[in-house]
Amino acid sequence: MAQSILQIKSRLLREYYKDFSKYAKGKLPEKKVAWVTAFVPVEILEALDISYYYPESYAAVIAASGAEQPLLEESEARCLSCDCCSYSCCIEGCLEQEKGPRGVPPKPDVLIATNNQCNTLPTWWNILAERYQVPLIVLDYPGETADRQLAYEYVTKQHRELIAELEKLSGNRLDPSVLAELIANSERSVAEWKQVAACLPEYEIKPTILFDDISFLITSRCKTETAELYRLMNEEIRQMPAAGKDKIPVFWLGYPLWYHPDRFLSELLEDYRIVGSNYVTWWSLNYSGQDVFEKLFQAYNFTFLNLAQATRNERLAQLIGESKAVCAVTLHNKSCKCDFVSAKNIAIPQAEIEIDMIDRTFVDMEKARRQLEILKDAICIG
């Protein structure tokens, strides 16, 4: 069974990376290429047989391979402030040097960015548009605070327009039944992933596995194999021993630390056990609706970071309650203001750590250690 999980992962990764650097020397790809941000409705691109790549995810891979520092320096030398999102700094360095652990993604024919996660991404993508001189399509998702009907009409018109533009680019015609099937694949992937994520408080597993393997939900959510991968993972995890009760249950509120071998501050958390994480729920998109356009609207307009603060409060309270965490490590992430404020109203004690998910030099480990000791004291006294 473990072999099957490995086989599926290998196949998905091979498929995703097969063209990295292959076309650097001028050979044209067989398919049109889009670069996308993490919450683009990629079901549309898949249905039109367009290849798509995620620079943000690749920045995480670069940091995980330990190669981020020279790229961050390169980016700063090219006048991009190091205060900017470090995903963007890392990728700018990678593109400038044309160097990365798996090469560089094929050059884009089109760039597609959304603001349903943050406003920084579409702004960053303007730089990419200048670099490659290709069209930039920004999909504008007003989120939960806008009037629902108004937002639905606006977003749906944008989705229809996106389809028309990508049909023109790819020369392919969108088959609505194929799009419906791809959305169904995404729904199945999300459903199976939720089962996997639910194992974290119950079984003796490290969050590392979830932080790493959610990448398939990001880059391959509408592919058939993804749901099967998560179904097998769920089966495997549920045969593991139940979680021990000897450590302090803590909620990890923020991004994984991509540069860290465990993706969290394991060396400072020996007395703690991570039982929950908001990050691993972000791509659990809700594709409910009567037709493909309503499903896409529902999924991509109401992403977690596009919800009103009150709804985020409710969601987080529910997640924390289900995890049975008694405290939280909240990352005050230099690269993501939006995520940090999600933690504003949580009711359990928290250690708020200044950190970055890509730049390993940003954190003050001694300060973090002291903060976690204080947190432990607060819980024990409480």
Binding site: I127, Q309, K337, C338
Partner: protein, 312 residues
């Protein structure tokens, strides 16, 4: 009613707003734009402020409501589209109608929008007249007068035209940035022997270039088009339009150098700078970047500007 508006993206044609110009208070949120933080502080602490209206256009504004939610004042966040096509104009027009309704529910009728449209058109025409003569007047006094004007209700605003004349130097500079709270910076630039001949500041160059809305047309669409079709902010995700408009003006006015002013932790301007300086480099035009830590920080700028004046 005193509604404090954070940004030039909040249209003045719907109801009276007071433009936020700066606040010298304490700040507490790390890695957060100092300008946004000052705004939050002022909304919370200034008893004369009845409410806050701000756009959802950058990450600092996006989450502003979360910091203000307990202040008990009127709060409204406008979804400023991240695109400028007809779809976006329609969407923003509908948003503006809802914004007006929310203001009226809280504060009563806002009055004639058509009259406000005419007043904004007329005022901007006057600003344009002064702006076109920037090279021959004191830029600092011009900016101070504009800031003072924007803190008044629309129908009480008058554009100061009798500004002291100033002989233009051969060092012609163009100023890029967001709202310049610290007008002393303009004085420092002039003290260093440079003449500001143009800018793309929201309170100056962008107001001067704002298209006129037709008071007899579909008002909300007309106003939305003003927000989306004028000189843009980098938060509106269309660098090409900004670069094209700015470079045209820079070349037309034979600018020798560009002073690019950003707030610390203001990513949109940081991203814009990375392409802006490249483009200026290709044209052989010098550029310097000043990063201010908050809405009143001009202390460190003097030395940098002196050196820059020597370069150009």
């Amino acid at each position: 009613m005193k509604l404090l508006a954070l940004s030039g993206l909040i249209p003045e044609q719907i109801c009276d707003i007071v433009r936020f110009t700066g606040y010298p208070g304490e700040r507490s949120v790390a890695h957060y734009c100092g300008y946004a933080e000052d705004y939050i502080s002022m909304v919370k602490q200034d008893d004369t402020v009845d409410g806050a209206v701000f756009p959802k256009s950058c990450d600092s504004c996006r989450i502003m409501g979360s910091y203000l939610e307990d202040c008990g004042k009127f709060l409204y966040q406008l979804n400023i589209p991240a695109r400028q096509d007809e779809l976006a104009v329609d969407f923003l027009a509908a948003e503006l109608e809802q914004y007006q309704a929310a203001v009226e529910r809280r504060f009563g009728a806002v009055g004639s929008i058509a009259e406000r449209v005419e007043a904004v058109n007329a005022r901007n025409r006057e600003i344009r007249g002064v702006y076109e003569n920037l090279a021959n007047i004191s830029y600092r006094e011009y900016l101070e007068a504009v800031h003072d004007m924007l803190t008044k209700p629309l129908f009480e605003q008058t554009v100061k035209k009798d500004l002291p004349e100033k002989k233009a130097s051969g060092k012609r500079v163009y100023l890029v940035g967001s709202f310049l709270s610290g007008t002393e910076l303009a004085g420092v630039i002039e003290d260093c022997g440079m003449t500001v001949v143009g800018d793309n500041l929201p309170e100056s160059g962008r107001l001067a270039a704002m298209p006129e809305a037709d008071p007899g047309g579909e008002l909300y669409r007309e106003i939305a088009a003003c927000v989306l079709r004028g000189r843009l902010s980098p938060t509106q995700d269309n660098f090409r339009q900004i670069l094209s408009a700015d470079m045209e003006e820079i070349e037309r006015k034979q600018v020798n150098g560009v002073i690019f002013v950003t707030q610390k932790y203001c990513e949109p301007y940081d991203y814009l700078f990375s392409v802006y300086q490249k483009m200026l480099g290709q044209k052989g035009i010098a550029v310097t970047k000043l990063t201010l830590s908050d809405s009143a920080d001009v202390r460190k700028a003097g030395l940098t500007l002196e050196a820059f004046a020597d370069v150009i």
